[in-house]
């Protein structure tokens, strides 16, 4: 497998040499997003390898085989992640991204809409047990309808009908308990 990676590394290098000689004024970082992702993952894997794995994974005092240790695989995985995030940083520095870019980027919409969506998500996580499934369901759905404005008034009926119907379906027909009502 290591083969594939050295080969991978070799590939961008070829292109890089060319572009550097072509035009020195070209931006040094070819793909900022890859570069930043690489940096973030590098930090994450460093934290993992040096802090989390040794401190948050218990190891029994006696081990017959190092592979038996609960830390063995997490260690390997963290260091591999470290290696690959370095590769990703290099890739970000050296390779221009061609096809993927258009898929990854989109035009952002209004902030208001996004904020309302975050609120709706928070309604679910914060109030699900206290207010019950039905009320949080109605509240969040209405919020989301307002966020990406649904202008047909009767559609708001769904915002009430669905949470009620689905909750009752879960609880009464399928015997899957959900928190019902605030008492």
């Amino acid at each position: 497998m290591i083969f594939a990676f050295t080969a991978f590394l070799a590939c961008p290098r070829g292109e890089a040499v060319m572009s550097f000689s072509d035009d020195r004024a070209v931006k040094r970082i070819k793909d900022t997003l890859d570069f930043t992702t690489g940096i973030v993952l590098l930090v994450v894997s460093l934290v993992l390898a040096l802090y989390l794995v040794p401190n948050y994974i218990g190891e029994p005092p006696i081990l017959q085989n190092p592979m038996m240790s609960p830390r063995w695989l997490p260690n390997i995985v963290s260091w591999l992640m470290l290696a690959f995030s370095v590769l990703l940083i290099l890739q970000g520095l050296l390779v221009t991204n061609k096809s993927e870019n258009d898929e990854r980027k989109f035009i952002k919409g209004s902030l208001r809409r996004f904020v309302i969506m975050v609120m709706a998500l928070l309604v679910y996580v914060l109030f699900f047990e206290t207010l019950g499934a039905i009320l949080t369901g109605i509240l969040a759905t209405v919020l989301l309808f307002l966020a990406h404005p649904v202008r047909t008034w009767w559609v708001y009926g769904f915002a009430v009908a669905f949470p009620v119907a689905v909750t009752l379906l879960f609880v009464n027909v399928m015997n899957v308990p959900l928190p019902l009502m605030p008492y």
Binding site: I138, W153, V160, P163, V164, N175, P177, L180, M181
Partner: protein
């Protein structure tokens, strides 16, 4: 917007009505006054879950109310049990199907937020499933003593269904009592452990009776002993471990027990109603048939005795967990 709010209110009231409608009325006893919840601290589909659903189904008739099974799995059984221990608004109508996970969990999980004995009332032990010490048919050992003698100078592997299962802990208990050299090999559940046992990859297991019963009957596995206090009527020729009389095995009496417990604020009338209902359930033919299929016996102890039993069970597993270095 106004319309919306009123619609919301209507829906809320409507569902509130529905909820109150499902509350049982017209019951002479003071308990139950509403649906009874039976918490299963394991995921759907396990032994505890299947058993609980069977019992819930029968309890429904005996209590003349709806019994809702609720799975709250996680961290052995400690997540579900911990939630019950916290009490809450329905604690007077909530039961929990406790199993060896209750005591073993308390022995191996660090810093539990509850006391496995004092925070609960113990209603009734419903069913006892013995574990069976089985070896593959190809194994050279024909008796427990032969096995232990071989295990003094040769490492034996025993399979189990996961750290902290009664199968695992029984193996560890056997190891400590007899001083055998044994290695625990974990599997993800009894189903996954069986092929290793049948294929001879592991030397022995202390499996639950229902998992291995058909293989014992078909001759693919050989039962060396059962772990219960008395011989099992399903395997009358197989001795109990305590019968062996050597290697401290007289102390080896464990079963996979299942019993109903509740939060310690559980009302007195509920306790009585439950005991009566359970007495009725445990005499039902469906229940006895079910127990027979599991190779199990109806539970023997209730109330204070049951509590005493749990205390002893807990002490034993704490000792084993400490010896085996499982508690972290």
């Amino acid at each position: 917007m106004k319309k919306l709010i009123s619609a919301t209110c209507i829906a809320a009231c409507g569902s509130a009505l529905l909820v109150s409608a499902s509350i049982t009325t017209a019951n002479a006893a003071d308990w139950p006054t509403k649906d009874v919840r039976l918490v299963v601290p394991y995921a759907p589909g396990g032994t505890t879950d299947v058993l609980s659903r069977r019992v819930a189904d029968l309890l429904k008739d005996a209590l003349d109310t709806n019994v809702i099974v609720e799975n709250r799995p996680g961290a052995g059984s400690t997540v579900g049990t911990g939630r019950l221990a916290r009490g809450g608004r329905d604690a007077d109508h909530t039961l929990l199907m406790a199993s060896p996970g209750h005591t073993i969990g308390a022995a191996i999980y660090p810093d539990l937020a509850y006391d496995p004995v004092e925070d609960f009332v113990f209603i009734q032990n419903v069913i006892d499933i013995p574990n069976v010490m089985v070896v593959p048919a190809s194994s050279p050992y024909n008796s427990v003593v032969e096995f232990i003698e071989a295990a003094q100078d040769q490492n034996m592997a025993f399979s189990h269904s996961g750290v902290g299962s009664s199968i695992h802990m029984s193996g560890e208990l056997f190891k400590t009592l007899t001083g055998s050299d044994m290695t625990a090999v974990p599997f993800a559940g009894s189903g996954a452990a069986l092929p290793a046992l049948l294929g001879g990859d592991v030397d022995v297991s202390f499996e639950n009776m229902p998992t291995v019963y058909s293989h014992i009957k078909s001759g693919d596995l050989r039962a060396l002993a059962v772990t219960s206090a008395e011989r099992s009527p399903y395997l009358p020729d197989v001795p109990t471990l305590s019968e062996i009389g050597e290697y401290n095995l007289d102390q080896f009496v464990t079963t996979a027990w299942f019993g109903l417990i509740a939060h310690n604020s559980f009302p007195e009338e509920g306790f009585e109603a439950m005991q009566n209902a359970l007495d009725e359930v445990m005499e039902r033919e469906e229940f006895l048939n079910f127990a027979e299929q599991l190779g199990a016996q109806p539970g023997q102890v209730e109330g204070e005795e049951f509590k005493q039993f749990v205390i002893e069970d807990l002490a034993r597993w704490q000792a084993v967990a400490e010896q085996a270095g499982i508690s972290q």
